[in-house]
Amino acid sequence: MKHVRTILVAGLVIAALAVGASAAELKIGISKIVAHPALDAVEQAVMDTLAAAGYTDVEYLLGDAQGDFNVAITIAQNFQAQNADLVVAIATPTALAAAQVYEGSDVPLVFAAVTDPVSAGLIPSATDPSGYGNITGVSDLIPVSSHLALLQEVSSDITKIGLVYNPGEENSAVLTDMALAAAPGLGLEIITASADSTANVPLAAQSLIGRVDAYYVTTDNTVVSAIDSVLSASADAGVPFLMADSTSLPSATLTAGFDYYVHGQAVGDVVLQILGGAAPNTIPAVYQADAEVKLNLDAAALIGLEFPQSIIDQAAAIYYGGIEFSK
């Protein structure tokens, strides 16, 4: 009896290992730092793009670090142990973890949704990826100054812009610094309010009421998770709120940003290039450029704002009565 049990357990372990050793044509690891609509969209878009290009026999190893940086490392090590042929790492911490684990390896690493890959040490320069071997990818660096200019266009009364952000988030810190640097040149002033966790976002947003003429939020994962509280604060203040992420349109007065699904498609394209034989270090990093402006007329009505015609002409979509209408 004793031995039967031991054999059963051994059998289960072997079975588990065997399942792990399944053979698909291609193994691609996709990891992200946390689950949230923008990052999820990137993940989905990569898989869709590959499927559309004819890659149907692919085993996807999906990893979600759930905000834990140490787990991001384990996920990358997991991919390596399962002999992934290519790794897509979504967001800066996950990309760094994968780069560390795959250092010196031939396995191509494609980063996605990384704001500043050059200062993160992922690639040596924006145009020349050849320095570090197997890494390339797509950056979602926001053209911050054009966003600030957009706010000026919405209303010439806007001179002070409130920026809610998490100083503990690398990409957010980079973009905030960019905003602070760009503002004086446009005749604007940025007033920041920091929130180190989602729970503190409402407080930070409310602290700006009466002190600013508009609210602005970049692709800050923490603030995006609590975006509705920023919208309420801006509505209480009676000022417009510009959000740099199109997926948040119902929760902002207007958005100017990238569609993260499109971002993911760009990542998919890079992956296709690599699968087609191009070496990663010959592919310069892609900096997404297709920013679109979208307007939330419901939110605008709440604060009695009428968008100038020039903005309406620019808009790629309008949110009205709870539905988004594209042009």
Binding site: G20, Q77, N78, A81
Partner: protein, 299 residues
Amino acid sequence: MATLLVHAIEQGLAFGIASLGVFLTYRILKFPDLTVDGSFVTGAAIASLLLVNHGFDPFTVLLIAFAAGGLAGVITGLLNTALGITNLLSGVLTMIMLYSINLRIMGRPNLSLLRVDTATRVIERVWEPLGVVSVLVFIALLTLLVKLLVDAFLKTELGFALRATGDSEQMITAQGVNTKTMKVLGLALSNGLVALSGALVAQYSGFADIGMGIGMIVTGLAAVIIGGTLIRSTRVGWMTTSVLVGSLIYRIAITLALRYGHVVGFQASDLKLITAILVVLALVLPRLREQRLKKVSAC
């Protein structure tokens, strides 16, 4: 599979050093210290700053990180002993302070060590003949050294005074020991170890991030409690061993959960649930075995 195990052990031991720190405060000093979420990052921050901006030697920074963690512990200790703030709150206050201090040290939320000569890179080069296990051997040796030093310290007169402070403050005060000094010393040592671990993990992971300490107290306590449940002993040498064993089990549980969770139908988001279940199993199975053995011997 073997490489996964190697990585799990590497991380289990690297975090094990932090768990030894938590052990010193939680088990020996009986002082629940939440500073660790902050001091872990302090170690990582100082090490990374010195490596990136000042080209320090990656092994020296481990010692400097230890010292920095010690300072953090002293702050908590003084809040408690000099200002009379309760132990839990003192730890929390220092942790909160450290968030801002750590950001200042790093100058940014995330400092990348990808292009810097970290300890792990140096070891991989210098101990190349060892191949895949070079880093594992280094971490194992370092952890062993730390454990032996802690064991030795706890058997000195000072160490005994520390243990006595945790066991019975009244008795040891009657013997003329200044328990306040003991608490500050214990907290300093403990957070020094946690910071050392942070510096090591940062170099292992390739970056220092302001958020990498979140949940460190949970990881540390998990190791201490799992280890303490599996290896019940009041002898110092066994107690520290049990902490390291606990840390290994916890890390292996996470690795297994990540690797095989999907086999039993779990999604990526169930990771923490699976880890907890595996830990419960690790705690319960030995006990079931004990009970069965007792029944058998009773016949």
